[in-house]
Amino acid sequence: MSVLIVVESVDGEIKKSSIEAVSYGALLAAKLQVTPVAIAIGVQDQAALQALGKAGASKVLAVASELLKQPQVLPYASAIALAATQEKASVVVLPKSTFSDTLASRLASKLKAGAVTGVTELPDTSAGFKVKKSIYTGKAFTHVEVKSAIKILTVAKNAVQPKEDGGAPAIEAFNPSIPESDFKTKITKTEKASGDLLLTEADIVVSGGRGLKGPEHWGIVLDLAKELGAATGCSKPVSDMDWRPHHEHVGQTGVKVSPNLYIAIGISGAIQHLAGVNSSKCIVVINKDPEAPFFKAADYGIVGDAFEVVPKLIAAAKNYM
């Protein structure tokens, strides 16, 4: 028996959320007294595969197929289902992402498994198998009992502390045979904001809202983000007006983030925006209106004009960091 952990990679590099998923899977496997096995598709670099051992995997299935280099839902689901059967997986663990959630759903159908996306803690296995998940876009939590023989979980950021003390894993080549029909969907082009820190993975996020008045003023947001090593986000109207790209829009209808630190500049704090940030560890709000609703959801606040406060903060960060 095993816990099978799915590792996501971008251009052969393992994502940080996957290291967390492996740590989660390893802790769960220890609880269930089964083997933690990771499956890495499209990762060639031996050091990267070794790192999965550090995170707790005792075995790594490495899939090298050229056909699977780019993440595609159908063939990946087939490959992982085959691995789950080979490894007699009782739980399949994936990182939480739009790609992995879709994978999880197809795997659930294939393996007749109960699936829960975005779990925030290790399962309670004292009686049955119960996991905690956030619902109503962060406004509540539920405890879900999974009753099927095979269980599928996608793991939210910060669900566990990443492990670094694991040993060297056994690395095995895995060559699943994928049906031709899985390749019906053709990727024609990808556009990536290269070099940018992924919003969903960043430990610090600096976001700007309509209070910044226009795209020409984004320099202060970008500079502060740069000083802090943060990713940048924005409110919905900002992306609606094309001041910033759509994928930066944070909130109920945009990206949900859960960084350690979220800094909101010139954002009023509408409930739909809060829905995307309320699982952040610490929230800082900079707004000229002391009555802005965001202050009620914040840990620290500065009442002031962003165009005066933020440049001072950047200067301070230069000295401080």
Partner: protein, 244 residues
């Protein structure tokens, strides 16, 4: 080209969430079509208006109280509606109901939202697609049709991916896939008489169950820092909050 749009009936995005006796407290709650589902619907209606689709059917798995939400979808421009008369227990249950409907009646495209805003599963589209043996793509923010060939743009972390596929397929949608549609008077009038068929659910084995609910811990008071001393903020973030 027949399009099926699956819609949820969910609390308005400004709702205060609470539970009484381990049940969602719906008193004072306004219900809406899930926002992502509404974008999916708006795109389906646009495709019909452009002559690229022949019909748009909306489907909801829900009890009788969801009918006002379904009527709103008809007012936005769907031609007819199906309600599967059941409490939408979990994603697998809902997916099995949708797959049963779509097996009996063939649709060329099945559109859904990227996720429901109550349970935030993001699961139903993939499950339906797998049950029907179809491709699925989510979340998509562009959908163009050229006969049976579709080109879509899918959001990936930090960017976009462009894909081509043939109908039939299933997709989870998000903005800006379509213009938000506000129903006009004529739409609202005609929605009253458009067909709404109620069907009974198929049996599905229970895979998961929701045991209990809780609210996040209340936030403490916000600590204010003077606008003239932003370095004080950095110090607090480093030494007190320990997030720098």
């Amino acid at each position: 080209m027949k399009i099926l749009v699956c819609i949820t009936h969910v609390p308005d995005t400004t709702s205060k969430i609470s539970f009484t006796d381990n049940k969602f407290n719906s008193s004072g709650i306004q219900y809406i079509i899930g926002p992502y589902d509404e974008y999916a619907l708006a795109r389906a209606v646009e495709l019909k208006e452009a002559g690229k689709a022949s019909s748009v059917t909306v489907l909801n798995v829900g009890e009788a109280d969801t009918e006002p939400t379904i009527r709103k979808a008809l007012a936005i421009g769907a031609d007819d509606a199906i309600r599967v008369n059941a409490n939408p227990r979990d994603a697998w249950y809902v997916a099995s109901q949708i797959a049963a409907i779509a097996t009996a009646e063939k649709y060329d495209i099945i559109l859904m939202g990227r996720e429901s805003i109550d349970f935030n599963g993001g699961l139903v589209h993939g499950m339906v697609a797998e049950l029907l043996g179809l491709p699925s793509v989510s979340p998509i923010m562009k959908l163009e049709l050229d006969g049976t060939k579709a080109s879509v743009a899918r959001e990936i972390e930090g960017g976009k991916e462009y894909l081509e596929l043939e109908t039939p397929f299933v997709a989870g949608c998000q903005e800006p896939i379509a213009e938000w549609k506000i129903p006009n008077m004529r739409g609202i009038m005609s929605a009253r008489t458009k067909p709404l068929k109620v069907v009974e659910p198929v049996n599905v084995e229970e895979g998961i169950s929701f045991v209990s609910f809780e609210l996040p811990p209340a936030k403490g008071a916000c600590k204010m820092v003077d606008a003239t001393t932003p370095e004080k903020l950095l110090e607090l973030l480093k030494n007190e909050a320990k997030v720098l």
